[in-house]
């Protein structure tokens, strides 16, 4: 199933299709496969992304794949987009005004393009005047940065301490 899929699959989804396996069985089987692929030095590996798994090529093969097609498909995000995503990732649900205040610049354009790329979504509306939209990150966000969960991001305290000791 992992081989046939173009997006990450959750262990529960896989278990449901197989009928008599539990999600835990699937997790164990995946761990076993990972181990096997590692030992056999395969060109691919099963990687955890968001709450699912996906078969991806190993990093050392990236240059070959890049050379295969003359189309360069850079999907790198701009610095403005990265900063905005960082704010949303830590502060979600968060509204446009809060983001603008934090970055000191207008955010509407960045928010629109992040939404178009599926990195963020509207998760609700705030109380108060105009009931502004609140944004949160999506599973595509986790996938794009190779994260399992938001907890994978460094904790704010860790960085704060780093800032203080620097001085």
């Amino acid at each position: 199933m992992l081989l046939a899929s173009e997006t990450p699959l959750g262990p529960a989804e896989i278990a449901r299709a197989s009928g008599d396996l539990s999600a835990k069985d699937v997790e164990e089987a995946i761990a076993e496969l990972c181990h096997e692929y590692e030992n056999d030095d395969r060109a691919f590996q099963i990687y955890p992304l968001g709450d699912g798994y996906q078969i991806l090529t190993r990093p050392e093969y990236a240059p070959y794949l890049e050379r295969f097609d003359s189309i360069t498909r850079t999907n790198k995000l701009s610095r403005a987009a990265l900063e905005t995503l960082a704010i949303i990732a830590y502060r979600q649900p968060v509204g446009r005004l809060q983001i603008e205040e934090l970055r000191g610049v207008s955010a509407s354009g960045v928010l629109r393009s992040l939404q178009e790329r599926g990195m963020i979504e509207v998760v609700g509306r705030a109380e108060g005047l105009g009931r502004p939209l609140l944004y949160g990150t999506t599973s595509k966000f986790l996938d794009h940065f190779g994260l399992r969960a938001l907890d994978d991001l460094p904790r704010p305290e860790e960085l704060q301490i780093a800032l203080r000791t620097e001085e």
Binding site: Q54, A62, G104, F145
Partner: protein, 254 residues
Amino acid sequence: MRLPAPTSSRIAGDDDRFVVELERFQGPLDLLLHLIRSQDIDIFDIPIAEITEQFVKAIEGIDEHVSLERAGEFIEMAATLVRIKAQMLLPRRDDLLDDQDPRSELVRRLLEYEFFREMAYTLAGAEADRALHRPKGYIEPRLQPDMGELPLQLTLEDFVKAAVSLPAPPERKPHRAPVRPVTVDEKIDLWFRVLKEKTRVPFEWFMRRWRTRIHAVMSFLAALELAKRGRVRLRQDRHFGTLWIYRGEADKDS
């Protein structure tokens, strides 16, 4: 647009140590943070007068290339700095608490922004690592061959049935098809429309629809014209091989 520089005579001097390109900065906070960090200034004790001067000098370069909105964001910060500077000059009473330092709100914002700026770098690193892993489907599927090239797969029985069910051919009348002229411009429009959907198209794809010579010639001329204008790229791996028309760099995001 030019900014009214508050202390223009001094700022316009030869001191260009802090000439900065505004485009490099995400916004006023980014610029301010750069000024502070690059000079090893203690962020909890910012020399406001000095920093304000440098900041105003930096944004003097704002001109018509910068959008009004972006210019406004920088000017707003300049105003804030000038206000804090003025407050610092006012006589201060000893019983003031620490957090009533006029700079404290700005420092809080700077530190908060700095955290997210650092996080953005961390994310960029994660993004680059992740990009080294390619999923299934990374190499786009090759375009399907024309159905007409597939060998027929049907039984004689099916064939007879299909033949019988066809209506009798109409009586043949000699007729002349009206010749509709086709122009290069029409073909250019067509290329644009197709390339909006796909990043690349084989040239044959066009030939399949109109099998007349004039259409082939016009399509080809259109492709050459677009390539000349840099709107598309053409690629052919070997002689008489498939000619691919790629969307140009500029139109990638459209």
